[in-house]
Each structure stands twice: as structure tokens, then as C-alpha cells.
């Protein structure tokens, strides 16, 4: 068989030689995204905003140069690091910009409502407390008074507020406030310094007392203040639908929500996935066309009904835009869910 050797060589060359690649169509428009999901903040505190730049394949680009702006600097100011200080009640737009690697300017914005951190009340009536040693004789003079002119009945924890005093002397004239002494009935909830600056710590009810000594008389005023928990409104969960992007069965509702120790991805009772798929995995990704750069939650082991995945607390709610169901061995998208728009 003189031709046997050439034929064998032919077959080996024919079937073994292959060096091709699969090109993954993974282009996405670069995007800049504010990832701090505040919608309401309160006066008296500062807030740190963050934004992430994702390049043309959905990869997070660290250390991007960001420019932060406030649409109304009388309502809120924001520095170059995204630290915002609300100045008065209102609605403002926070804008962040960066320049992509392709040279285009990317922008994202978020509308923020600024609420007051306190509830004002009318000034308290002064309380006269004569000293034990001496009683003030009756005369045509009147009792000096001290008044909190911007008293409050409520303050939000983790915020500050400056109280103001007015002093009326024995002749009924407004005068400089003598050295005042401020005390809080519970400093674990509300602290006050010698200038009347309040620092709300935690929720609860506190009696605040301010007193001044005039001659031998101590005059004081009291205010009962309710400290409430922070009312910063921010998005804490997203819900949606997992839909099949293949011919395989995959459906169900999902919720991505903050838990006690990190986010929890929950699939509801309507969830169904084909058991004919080998190597089905679930990912969080910023590119719906590839798992490159995605966070691999793990292999799918539940194919019907409600279940959940606990995510590490290093993952924030807006870090990823898509949930991907992927046949890992064959690099095929089976389905997806958009976490948010």
C-alpha cells in the first residue's frame, strides 16, 4: 500500500490544524454612572456621592477623573471628591462628568431633594429659679428672661443644629447673653456644646436645658427635643424579571436588596430554569454580552421555585447592571435581567 503514508499524513493535517478564535461582540457605549442611590437628604449633614466609569466593554475603570457640579450652589455645594453639603431646603441636581478613553465627555445626573433636619417650635417661656439665699424684692423692675429663639421639637440623628438665645434684662431691654450653660438630659442621644450647637446622635427624647446666672439668680429655659432616625431616602432594592435570551426555559421574578450582611439576590416562586443545560451559572455583570469582568455568583443548583443568593458585602447595590444566566462550558447567554435602567 504505497499511498497509505501520504493519506495518513493528509488526515492528520486536515483534522488537527485549527487556530481560529471566536470574536465576542462585546461593545457597549461607555457610561458614567452615579452609584450612590440617594433621593432625599437632610440639612445639617454632609454626604459623599460616588460615580463609576465603565468603558466600552463594560469594565469598571478605577481612579477616573470626575468633575462634580451642583445645579444650585445656594441649595447644595459639592466638592471635587463628591462630598456634598446641603445648605437649604429644596431640590437640586447633582451632575458628574468625566472624559472617556475615546475622548467623549460622559455625564450622569441625579435629582436630590433636601429636607429640613429639624421641626421648629415657638420659643419656650422662660423659667425663673430664684436662688435659695436671696429672693428678688418686688419693684418696678421685671425678671430677666432667656429665650431660645429658634427652638426645635425634633431633630434628625447624625445632623447638627445651632440654637440661638435672646436675653432680656431686668429693665426689659434686650442685652448680651451672659455666659450660658447648656445641658442635655441624655448625651448618648443628643449633645450640646457651650455655644448651643446640637449634635444629634441617636433616636430618643431628650430634655435640653440652658441656664444663665444673673446676679444671684439663675434663669433657665428648657426644651424637649425628639431625636429621630436619619431619614435619608435612598434606593435599597431593585426588582424585575429574569427572561430567557435563548431557546431554553428561564423565567422568574428577582429582587436585589440589602440584607443584614450584604446584598441578597432573591428569585421568587415563578422562577423556572431548564434542567437540560449543563454548567448553568449566574453572574452580575455590566455587559450583557459577556461574563468578562462579571462577578460569578455560582453554579445554578435550584431550577424551580424560590431561592436566594447571599452576596459579599463588598458588592454595592448599583455596582452591576445585569444579572446573567450563562452556560459556562459553551460560553452562551441563556437569559438575563436588567437590575436598573
Amino acid at each position: 500500500m504505497p499511498y497509505l503514508k501520504p493519506f495518513l499524513l493528509f488526515f492528520v493535517c486536515l483534522f488537527i490544524s485549527c487556530t481560529d478564535v471566536d470574536l465576542i461582540d462585546d461593545y457597549l457605549p461607555p457610561v458614567l454612572r452615579i452609584t450612590t442611590p440617594f433621593s432625599e437628604i437632610t440639612l445639617g449633614d454632609s454626604y459623599s456621592f460616588e460615580a463609576s466609569y465603565f468603558n466600552n466593554i463594560g469594565e469598571f475603570v478605577p481612579n477616573s477623573q470626575l468633575e462634580w457640579e451642583s445645579s444650585d450652589s445656594e441649595i447644595l455645594t459639592i466638592d471635587s471628591h463628591g462630598n456634598a453639603t446641603p445648605l437649604k431646603i429644596g431640590t437640586v441636581q447633582i451632575i458628574v462628568k468625566t472624559t472617556s478613553s475615546e475622548g467623549s465627555v460622559l455625564q450622569d445626573e441625579i435629582n436630590i431633594t433636601i429636607q429640613s433636619n429639624v421641626v421648629l417650635v415657638p420659643p419656650e417661656e422662660p423659667i425663673e429659679e430664684p436662688s435659695e439665699e436671696e429672693q428678688i424684692p418686688e419693684s418696678n423692675t421685671q425678671t430677666p428672661t432667656i429665650t431660645i429663639t429658634n427652638g426645635i421639637s425634633q431633630i434628625t440623628a447624625e445632623t447638627n443644629y445651632q440654637l440661638e438665645l435672646a436675653f432680656q434684662d431686668a429693665m426689659g431691654n434686650l442685652a448680651d447673653v451672659p455666659n450660658s450653660n447648656w445641658t442635655s438630659s441624655n448625651e448618648a442621644l443628643l449633645q450640646v456644646d457651650e455655644t448651643g450647637t446640637l449634635q444629634a446622635i441617636a433616636a430618643g427624647t431628650v430634655t435640653l436645658t440652658v441656664s444663665v446666672q444673673v446676679s444671684n439668680t439663675i434663669i433657665s429655659a428648657q426644651s424637649v427635643i425628639n431625636v429621630i432616625a436619619p431619614v435619608v431616602a435612598m434606593v435599597t432594592s431593585y426588582s424585575g424579571e429574569v427572561v430567557s435570551k435563548s431557546s431554553y426555559t428561564l423565567e422568574g421574578g428577582f429582587t436585589l436588596a440589602s440584607g443584614n450582611d450584604g446584598l441578597i439576590l432573591s428569585l421568587d416562586e415563578s422562577y423556572k430554569a431548564s434542567t437540560a443545560l449543563p454548567g448553568l451559572y449566574v453572574y452580575l455583570s455590566n455587559n450583557a454580552n459577556t461574563t468578562a469582568g462579571a462577578y460569578e455568583i455560582g453554579a445554578v443548583t435550584v431550577f424551580n421555585g424560590a431561592h436566594s443568593y447571599n452576596l459579599p458585602n463588598s458588592i454595592e447595590l448599583m455596582d452591576y447592571k445585569y444579572i446573567l444566566y450563562w452556560c459556562k462550558p459553551f460560553n452562551v447567554k441563556v437569559g438575563e435581567a436588567k437590575i436598573y435602567d
Binding site: F7, F10, I57, T275, A276, L277, A292
Partner: protein
């Protein structure tokens, strides 16, 4: 998703070249190569979905040897199986997401006996039992999906029949079988049916033939993604495959064969045309 092992089976059937029961001491050997490259597959719904491009290449030795008056020994020995996947590269950046992967190993050997049952008029009947030996790797490669075998021992029982006929003085043959494949390890059993017809041209130098092969699972297995680790690649597969082959006798006893096959319909199987070639020897 895609069943590589089914293709091994299809491949083996396509290598069947002998026709009737061979006399003792005679036989047929074929050293062949078989290749398939697929970037789509039939899903479990029978629809077509894409996949990363995967390839399968098999070098095998097929033989039928008469070991008795009415008994043939049949062996299909895939001694080299290459299961590979193309590199996955970003079209946008050129970044290599996953390099080319491959796994080489033995495939699942098939060993069988065929017994001549006799003939009725010009119909020849035989029965055969083929044992599927799990000599390949059912979990192989970086993620376990580059398997070269299904990891289960199966027994394919067939009733074969063959017939010669003429059309306009041109001689043809027809052969067919019905089979039941008893599979183990939670795999669904299968019903097989097969038909082949062909004729010889140019003074019997060239054999031209065409085949149909239908594999229908009985869906009585317990194996699925919820209770297995990769082996479901080979479960509940269905295929209806059309193939053809040319065999050219060059020497007195040997020649070359070139074949192709494509699935017309299927479930859990690659949707791609396979190509094969080999050198055969009759003695």
C-alpha cells in the same frame, strides 16, 4: 446542551461498511478520522441556539472480522479524541477572555457481536449486541465539559436486515436496523433506527451510499442538571441525521473513503455537518 457522545455514536455507525455476515477469517478494517466544528446546536426544544465554536476530532479504528460461520466480531476503537474550543476574544479590544482549550484522550470503545439469523427470499437477517465501554473521560478539561466519553456502560441490541435489488440493471443494496440502547448511570434509554442504500460504479471501484440514522431517547433517565456534574451532555439526545459516503477501491484490497453527515433535526446535539475520511482494508 450539545452532545459530543452522540456524535461518536453517529460516527461509529457511519463507519459501518461491511454488509452481510462475513465468513470466518475474512474481515474489514478502517482507519479513519472524523471531524466536526459547530457554533450552534439544537436545544432541548429542538430549536437552534448559538454556542462558542467547539470542535471534535476522532481518530478511530473500525473492524468487522468473521470469527465463526455466522458470527462477526465488531469493534469501534476511538483511540484518539480531541475535544476543543476556540479562543474567546473581545471583538472590541482584542483582549483574550479565554484561551483555546482542548482535551485529548481515549473515546468510548464499542465492542459487539453480530450473528447471522438467516435469510428469507433475498432478505438477510442478523442480530447484534454492541457494548459501549466507558473508556473515555466523562468529565475532562478545564471545566469538565471537554469529555471524550459519557461515563456509562450501555448495551445496544439490534435486529439487522439487508437486501440486494436492481434498478435498470444497476445493482444496489439496502440495509437497515432497529435497535434498543439500554443505558446506565441515569441516562435515558434510546430507540435507534437506521437505513442505508448504495451502489457500486466503475467496475465496482467506487461505492456510493447514503444513510439516515434516527436516535430517539425514551426520556426515562433521571440525569439532569440538578443532579449531575457535566455528564448530562450525553443524555436525552435526539438526532435525525442524513449522511453519505464515497469509497474508492484503489488497490486489490484497500481504498479510501470520504463521508459527510448532517443532522436534519435534533435535540441537545450540535447543528453542524461532520466530515470523515479513512483508509480501509478488506481481507
Amino acid at each position: 446542551m450539545k452532545n459530543l457522545l452522540t456524535l461518536l455514536l453517529v460516527c461509529s455507525s457511519f463507519l459501518v461498511h461491511g454488509q452481510w455476515i462475513k465468513e470466518k477469517g475474512t474481515g474489514y478494517l478502517k482507519l479513519g478520522g472524523w471531524s466536526l466544528l459547530a457554533n450552534k446546536h439544537f436545544t432541548d426544544q429542538g430549536l437552534t441556539d448559538p454556542n462558542s465554536t467547539r470542535g471534535l476530532f476522532i481518530n478511530s479504528l473500525y473492524g468487522e472480522i468473521g470469527i465463526g460461520k455466522k458470527i462477526n466480531l465488531i469493534a469501534y476503537l476511538p483511540f484518539f479524541v480531541k475535544n476543543y474550543q476556540f479562543a474567546q476574544v473581545s471583538k472590541t479590544t482584542g483582549k483574550v477572555y479565554e484561551p483555546r482549550q482542548e482535551y485529548n484522550g481515549l473515546g468510548d470503545f464499542n465492542l459487539g457481536l453480530e450473528y447471522g439469523l438467516g435469510h428469507l427470499k433475498n432478505w438477510n437477517f442478523s442480530g447484534s449486541l454492541t457494548l459501549g465501554i466507558p473508556s473515555g473521560e466523562s468529565v475532562a478539561g478545564v471545566d469538565g465539559s471537554y469529555q471524550t466519553g459519557d461515563g456509562e456502560f450501555n448495551q445496544l441490541l439490534q435486529v439487522n436486515l439487508g437486501k440486494s435489488y436492481n434498478i435498470s440493471n444497476q445493482g444496489f443494496y439496502f440495509k437497515s436496523y432497529l435497535g434498543f440502547n439500554n443505558r446506565s448511570q441515569g441516562f435515558s434509554d434510546e430507540f435507534h433506527s437506521f437505513g442505508e442504500t448504495g451502489t457500486q460504479l466503475f467496475n465496482s471501484k467506487l461505492l456510493i451510499l447514503t444513510r439516515l440514522h434516527w436516535i430517539k431517547p425514551l426520556y426515562n433517565g433521571t440525569l439532569d442538571a440538578s443532579n449531575s456534574n457535566g455528564a448530562i451532555f450525553a443524555n436525552n439526545i435526539e438526532s435525525f441525521t442524513l449522511g453519505g459516503e464515497l469509497a474508492w477501491t484503489i488497490g486489490e484490497k484497500w481504498g479510501i473513503a470520504l463521508g459527510t453527515a448532517t443532522p436534519l433535526f435534533g435535540k441537545v446535539i450540535y447543528k453542524a455537518t461532520s466530515f470523515s475520511g479513512g483508509v480501509f482494508l478488506s481481507f
